[in-house]
Symmetry: C2
Subunit: 326 residues, 2 copies
């Protein structure tokens, strides 16, 4: 028998598909208030002993995911964790691997994040707010706009998210340079470089997107040197991790005029503290770590889990399995 | 000898490339104030007698293009007109053809208009203004958004503009239905239908883009019947001509709840009159016939004219030649 721990909301969505897949599975649901049930019967945290834990997107909204992780790490039963995250920089994921538990991360948010990037860059390139102001003033105003066509994009990290950004930028006629650890070519990038080559490739980039994992090598990658090598018309987008950027250096750089603007969905401290200078900076767009919150992310996450569950039960390869965190 | 009439600003941009192409060309420039010069010497309107007229984008900003057209139609010399327009519904173009003058229209604005469409649809699907408000209020607000992925797009008119919209929508994972006069398949559309089939294909469309010419067949195509067949979550985009839509019917439809919103760059009367109810309608985005005003349109228009001039001088086919206005 296989025991699966999952959020009660996630179970409500997939229970029919789950019982079609294998009616003999034991289902342990965790509610947002922490209450646990195995096959409908209340149990205690210490009695979880699950083989599989699906840390779905529902835990972002609520539910004691930390306690579940601790119970899981204490148990001797856990074999596989499917997470809704893409980035695995939080220490718990390394602990999962160290314990010998298999780990799969998620690409379900890649499409949403790519759409967030395109929408926000276009909102910056086009006079989005000036158009609205002109309409409010009943003003027939001929506002020109900057095109994406023929722009240069540097996409740091060309995994699921970066490559989906690349696909869309290319459809607009942009030239895409992907930064990959491996340096290997990719069909959705016109060029691929490695991290050490970024500096010499910054000056002509119109858009720089940080879509890489947070590692020792990428931490504070964007510092004063990086920023001053950028083009003064460039837009910097961070949908990776706040720790990729030295925020003090970014504010100084923006005040000096390079880059032109920054679109930030992630920060050194989240939520961004009330008095933080990024909130009111005229060249900064702040969003609340919500680039993954597209209308299709949850369904793609459900599909990924069910696909991987079938793989797991049939002893096939798991999609997005992570064996080493850089 | 070949005489070319063009705007003084356009001449300033291309004069080097022009003299490389054929140093023996006579150049007649028209300034924004109407002053005319042939090879630098002042001339009168009645002395234009040009063989070629390039009605470039510069005339949109200023210059007596109407008077130039009248002089051209009176002359017996005119052989070819290159316009910056895509739509040829204004009566002057039929007069040009009736006079036996060759006519080429422009695809230089297609990329800009496609970018306008994508940016405005995404600004509608994503909480663009709510994000800005949250930032202004220093509010860490988790705002979900509607994805383009897996949406259905109906693009009425699948020429240069419509197909460039299709290319971009497809890169986002949208399903594209193109409406073509010919009904012929197109690599950038998943399906192609004809105008008579639109009604039966409206109910499941998330985005409907009007990118067709204004003809007797398309005039007031979007009436009460069309609008009530749309989906209540649909966004209607008009970058074609104002006369494609019955604006009174659109306001009634939006007030009733279908479609969800309208993005309008063109209107029955332009500039949109001061007291017009579309200005203040909460579900309408008004822009001032500026979807073509991308940063690359002018350069693409210059390239098109020079390419066609070379074709003309070498007696080759002209790109975008129009022999019949529907």
């Amino acid at each position: 028998m296989t025991d699966i721990l999952l959020h009660a909301s996630a179970h409500a969505r997939i229970k029919d598909r789950l019982s079609t897949l294998d009616p003999a599975l034991n289902v342990i649901t965790m509610q947002t208030d922490g209450a646990l049930h195995r096959n409908g019967v209340p149990i205690e945290m210490d009695d979880i002993n699950a083989h599989i834990f699906w840390a779905s997107i529902d835990f972002l909204v609520g539910g004691p995911v930390r306690e579940a992780m601790i119970a899981l790490l204490k148990s001797e039963t856990a074999q596989w964790v499917q997470t809704a995250s893409a980035g695995l920089d939080a220490p718990v994921w390394q602990m999962i691997l160290d314990k010998g538990i298999r780990l799969t991360n998620s690409d379900a948010q890649a499409i949403a994040i790519a759409e967030y990037v395109m929408a926000n860059v276009m909102a910056e390139f086009q006079p989005t707010f000036e158009r609205r102001e002109a309409q409010t003033a009943h003003e027939w105003k001929r506002l020109p706009f900057r095109e994406l066509s023929n722009t240069n994009w540097l996409i740091v990290g060309f995994g699921h998210i970066g490559s989906e950004v690349g696909r869309r930028a290319k459809a607009f006629g942009a030239h895409v340079t992907g930064v990959r650890h491996s340096g290997k070519s990719h069909e959705l990038a016109d060029h691929v470089i490695t991290q050490s080559e970024i500096h010499n490739n910054l000056s002509n980039q119109d858009v720089v997107v940080l879509a890489c994992p947070l590692t020792e090598a990428t931490k504070i990658m964007v510092d004063g040197t990086f920023l001053s090598a950028m083009n003064n018309k460039a837009v910097l987008v961070n949908i990776g991790r706040g720790q990729l950027i030295n925020e003090d250096a970014l504010i100084i750089a923006l005040d000096t005029g390079t880059p032109e603007a920054a679109i930030l969905d992630v920060f050194q401290t989240e939520p961004l503290p009330e008095g933080h200078p990024l909130w009111d900076h005229p060249k900064v767009r702040v969003t609340a770590h919500t680039s993954a919150f597209g209308s299709g992310t949850r369904e793609r996450g459900d599909d990924l889990f069910l696909e991987n569950l079938q793989n797991f039960l049939n002893e096939k390869d798991l999609r997005n399995e992570v064996t080493k965190i850089q």
